[in-house]
């Protein structure tokens, strides 16, 4: 009888311990947000997001930071940095612009992009320096 209790207890401890380890590893290896598979938290026109940041950076930070933002606008500049394409979208009558750093998987699609073209792009907003910055961007249209 006592042997059976001991066995059961041992078994339970093992189950709890392995569950704990499993949860820990799941948490530790939690993947990054996959922008291409997530729907955007906010969809805006380039002029609106720029105006929001120009009006009040603090308010815009609470609204946009770490969110998946989908922006529509006109490409004003195309650059590459370390093999990654950076698409700059300008607003209308605004000083700043939106710099979209494409995710590595999206680079192939960047070849057919042209300045002056309309584009819809989504990415994670990390903040505002001279420009609004979006990282891990995916081209929608």
């Amino acid at each position: 009888m006592t042997r059976k209790i001991k066995m059961v207890t041992l078994f339970l401890i093992l189950v709890v311990a392995s569950m704990g380890l499993y949860i820990y590893l799941e948490l530790y290896n939690k993947p990054h947000v996959d922008v291409s598979r997530s729907s955007p938290n906010i969809s805006v026109d380039s002029s609106i997001i720029l105006k929001d940041f120009e009006d009040s950076e603090a308010d815009a930070n609470t609204k946009y930071l770490e969110k998946i933002v989908q922006v529509t606008g006109v490409i004003s500049e195309l650059n590459t940095n370390k093999g990654k394409t950076i698409v700059t979208i300008s607003g209308q009558n605004t000083f700043g612009s939106i710099m979209c750093h494409l995710s590595p998987e999206e680079n192939i699609k960047a070849d057919h992009l042209k300045e002056g073209q309309n584009i819809t792009i989504k990415g994670i907003c990390t903040g505002y320096l001279m420009d609004v910055i979006l990282v891990k961007c995916v081209i929608i249209n």
Partner: protein, 181 residues
């Protein structure tokens, strides 16, 4: 307090941009590396803004904390939420001087930079030696320096004290181009 900071930064950049001889990068690179017996932690940031005024040798750098990309998303989450508190302190900044900038010529390989670095709302004086390449088309700065976590009032919980180094190595590479309006 915060709006004043923001206003100061804006004014700083606006005034810096109005002059003539500005060199600028919006895609500067910064990374930091923490090595501990338990694990190595590295994060990269490719969105550093840096502006040099060549008439005075003044340099201003702004870095978004949320632009640091980690290998593990949990590390990135902890870094932003618990350590640098990037919702409250979204930027790290540096403002200073490239010493003897006007006398530097194209043969010069190193330069000293002296100024104030602000991380997590705490400002410290710093002087570091950098590699420099100065040509009319490009001013490139490259180097690294140590940052002691405790100096910037960043508290590491005792549970993970062995996972994070007390001193972090910060590396940077900034390739400035002439600024055309």
């Amino acid at each position: 307090m915060k709006p004043i900071y923001i206003l100061t930064y804006c004014l700083l950049f606006v005034t810096l941009l109005h002059g003539q001889e500005k060199y600028l990068t919006k895609q500067g690179y910064t990374s930091f590396f923490s090595s501990s017996p338990v694990e190595d932690i590295k994060a990269d940031n490719n969105q550093v803004l840096s502006i040099i005024d060549t008439t005075t040798g003044t340099i201003a750098i702004a870095i978004l904390m949320k632009s640091f990309m980690f290998e593990k998303s949990l590390m990135q989450e902890h870094f932003n939420e618990n350590y640098v508190e990037s919702d409250t302190y979204p930027k790290a900044t540096f403002k200073g001087q490239i010493l003897n900038f006007s006398t530097l010529n194209e043969d010069q390989k190193t330069a000293n930079i002296k100024g104030d670095i602000t991380i997590h709302g705490v400002t410290k004086k710093i002087e570091i030696k950098t590699q420099i390449v100065k040509t009319p088309e490009n001013i490139s700065l490259k180097g690294s320096f140590p940052v002691t976590v405790a100096d910037f009032n960043i508290k590491i919980p005792s549970v993970v004290i062995n996972n994070i180094a007390e001193t972090i190595d910060v590396t940077f590479q900034l390739d400035h181009q002439p600024y055309k309006k």
